[in-house]
């Protein structure tokens, strides 16, 4: 059976599983229509949270970014896991105690203001739509891979599937589907990683394999990778490269704070039975996320190692050292068809060279000594690395098909969750909650579906012309969440005196400044070509990358809120009392 048929079969089979589970879960739990997760043990709830949370960015994109960033890719690893510590310690138990169902609802009630609620809804929409753009790109890449078509066609297919999935599969108890998606996702991610780790180092656990020596030698994998990269004019894999230390720090912090402020993840902790379950649930979610996140660095490094050794199987600089174009492996042919991998034989030697031609000294030397006329890969999209990884390593076809199914599971579970969040914010929070309280249930649902369709179209269009790779686009969403919602939630719990005026001003300044900074470099509303400044380090304010600016937005949010609070009226007595109530799991009887 050829790879295409096999991939379609495997992906089709996983779809059957999701639909079957959705039907089964729906039939057995109609009473718990809206409270997904209630009555589900913390371990399983953690697993579903992990699936909801780990998106195309985590599954498809992240290891590819790490492969090309090396050490500084750790910003994504630490940022997207460390946020759970903030969420578990600073938000989850208290929001659970408060007992509301959506984030804008909490903010509206705590700050006794409809305006605050609207600002929170706007923040939620901006965050979720940015986030969906990243997902659509991931879905598009996964589909263009299995259908062997151009990215554009893959993306349109993906849009259609996401729409059907979100409209029919949504609103129901999707928790069990997400548990299945987690299992498929983690299996699809770790199986090839284990295979490749054994191939390269003889160690089954990729977490240990990455630190081990190459099979049959005394050289450590990381040392060999460092050496090869330096021989090709790049910086060492384990050194600070790709971004400055400051930007690594800021990006890590922005992703952490953003994670803690993501509305569709926070909702998960509203529905656990008790406050202490909320604390523990976050821990279990992180255990399941950690399995993928500790594997990802190995996937990235090993993919890079294999990729370079495919292009450069022989000695560097020797005329026979590079792969002959006519004999290039099948996986390259596959990815050329999607348009995401492109090369050009610049020196007409019939072979492919990959090296750092941005390093003038090395490029000069390579031209004179090796006859290289520039690195010949015009395009290696970072987002293809994870999907191509098993192909590069020459693993059996069923593993390649499995990875494709895993990528689609990751993108679908998150995209559906986000689209539901968008739909409910528009139909429930905005229409029903504020502008048209008398709207009928039917119209409310209709508005939700229209909002969902609009969001998919917009995200699909922007997914074709994205402001960055999937994981980078998603990183922007986190920056926005960090700058707007997290400070408001945290101050709502930890500062009894924080009032309406402070919170609203803080959110507006945080969201506004971060959005402005991102639009200046990425284009207004992400539309390509509308950016005011080129998106390069010399134009960035103090060299701060837009993906890391969320931290500055969050700091501005805190400062402005604090200053405004000083000159305006304290919150009413009953609100201050409410905050005290939120801080204890149960009102004590201790005399």
């Amino acid at each position: 059976m050829d790879l295409k048929t096999l991939s379609l079969l495997v992906v089709g089979a996983t779809f059957v599983i999701y639909i079957a589970i959705a039907i089964w879960a729906k039939a057995s739990s109609t009473s718990e229509f809206y409270v997904a997760g209630k009555g589900i043990p913390p371990v399983l709830n953690g697993m579903a949270t992990a699936a909801d949370w780990m998106s195309a960015a985590s599954f498809i994109s992240m290891a590819g970014l790490i492969a090309f960033l090396g050490f500084t890719g750790g910003a994504y690893l630490m940022g997207w896991t460390g946020g759970y510590v903030l969420m578990a310690l600073l938000l989850a138990p208290y929001l659970r105690k408060f007992g509301k169902f959506t984030v804008p609802e909490f903010i509206g009630d705590r700050f006794y203001s409809t305006t605050a609620r609207i600002v929170a809804v706007i923040s939620l929409l901006v965050i979720s739509i940015t986030y969906v753009i990243g997902q659509m790109r991931g879905v598009g890449i996964a589909f263009s891979n299995i259908l062997e078509v151009k990215l554009e066609v893959g993306l349109l297919t993906g849009m259609a599937v996401v729409f059907i999935y979100a409209v029919f599969g949504g609103m129901k108890g999707i928790t069990y589907t997400q548990i299945a998606q987690y299992v498929i996702m983690i299996f699809a991610y770790t199986v090839p990683a284990v295979f490749i780790s054994i191939q390269l180092t003889g160690v089954a656990f990729p977490q240990i394999g990455l630190g081990s020596t190459l099979a049959g030698t005394d050289t450590h994998l990381l040392q060999a990778l460092d050496q090869t990269l330096m021989d090709l004019g790049f910086a060492a894999y384990t050194s600070v490269t790709g971004m400055t230390m400051t930007n690594m720090f800021l990006l890590t912090l922005a992703l952490m704070i953003g994670t803690a402020g993501l509305p569709h993840v926070i909702i998960r902790f509203f529905t656990v039975p008790r406050v202490r379950d909320a604390r523990k649930s976050a821990g279990w979610a992180l255990v399941f996320i950690g399995i993928l996140y500790t594997t990802a660095p190995a996937v990235g490094a090993m993919a890079m190692y294999n990729f370079i050794n495919t292009v450069q199987p022989g000695e560097i600089g020797s005329p026979q050292g590079n792969v002959v174009i006519d004999e290039r492996p099948d996986w390259m042919l596959r990815w050329e068809r999607t348009g995401l991998l492109q090369f050009e034989d610049k020196n007409d030697d019939g072979r492919l060279q990959y090296y750092n031609d941005g390093n003038p000294e090395f490029a000069e030397m390579a031209r004179e000594e090796y006859g290289w006329e520039g690195s010949e890969f015009n395009r290696i999209d970072r987002d293809i690395m994870v999907l191509a990884n098993p192909q590069i390593a020459g693993l059996p076809n069923w593993v390649i098909a499995l990875v494709a199914a895993g990528g689609i599971a990751a993108a679908l579970s998150t995209a559906a969750g986000l689209l539901l969040a968008i739909a409910s914010a528009i139909s429930h929070d905005l229409l029903k909650g504020i502008f048209a309280p008398k709207i009928s249930e039917k119209k409310e649902l209709m508005a939700g579906r229209i909002a969902m369709g609009g969001a998919i179209l917009l995200a699909g269009y922007l997914g074709l012309n994205p402001p960055g790779f999937a994981a980078q686009v998603v990183a922007l969403a986190f920056g926005l969440a960090a700058a707007s919602l997290f400070p408001a939630l945290m101050m709502g719990i930890f500062m009894k005196k924080m009032n309406r005026e402070g919170a609203i001003a803080g959110m507006l300044v945080g969201l506004g400044s971060t959005l402005l900074y991102i639009f200046l470099f990425k284009g207004w509303f992400f539309f390509p070509g509308t950016n005011v400044f080129p998106d390069t380090a010399e134009y960035w304010l103090f060299g701060i990358n837009p993906t890391g600016f969320g931290v500055i937005g969050a700091i501005l949010n805190f400062i402005v809120a604090f200053l405004v609070m000083q000159v305006t009226k304290a919150p009413p007595e009953h609100i201050q009392h409410l905050v005290e109530e939120v801080r204890v799991p149960r009102v004590g009887t201790n005399p």
């Binding site: 790490i66 050490f71 890719g73 750790g74 690893l77 630490m78 896991t81 460390g82 759970y84 510590v85 578990a88 310690l89 600073l90 138990p93 977490q207 240990i208 990455l210 630190g211 081990s212 020596t213 450590h220 994998l221 990381l222 384990t238 050194s239 600070v240 230390m245 690594m248 720090f249 890590t252 912090l253 008790r274 406050v275 202490r276 604390r279 523990k280 976050a282 821990g283 992180l286 255990v287 950690g290 996140y293 500790t294 660095p297 005290e580 801080r583 204890v584 799991p585 149960r586 009102v587 004590g588 009887t589 201790n590 005399p591």
Partner: protein, 86 residues
């Protein structure tokens, strides 16, 4: 202890715990994983340069441990101050 005093004491104990755990959170990730990573790379753990290991492995294990320690310590506090559920 009045109920008000008891609550204040519970909240203070909670904040102390948060300060300790978040300090560890910061030191391990931003300290060992980023700011001090280059000097730490002169040491190694399981074949990894140490700073690199903290940035791509160690900090994640630490985060998981921190959340479970927090859940455990808070449950103890809840009982001590008689604000536990059930």
């Amino acid at each position: 202890m009045t109920q008000q005093e008891s609550r204040t004491a519970y909240w203070q104990a909670n904040l102390r715990l948060l300060t300790i755990l978040l300090s560890i959170w910061f030191i391990v990730s931003f300290g060992f994983g980023i700011l001090l990573s280059q000097p730490l790379n002169n040491f190694s753990i399981g074949g990894y340069p140490l700073g690199f290991w903290f940035a791509q492995q160690g900090s994640i294990y630490t985060f998981i441990a921190l959340i479970f320690i927090y859940a455990w310590r808070m449950n103890v506090l809840d009982r001590k101050f008689d604000v536990h559920e059930d």
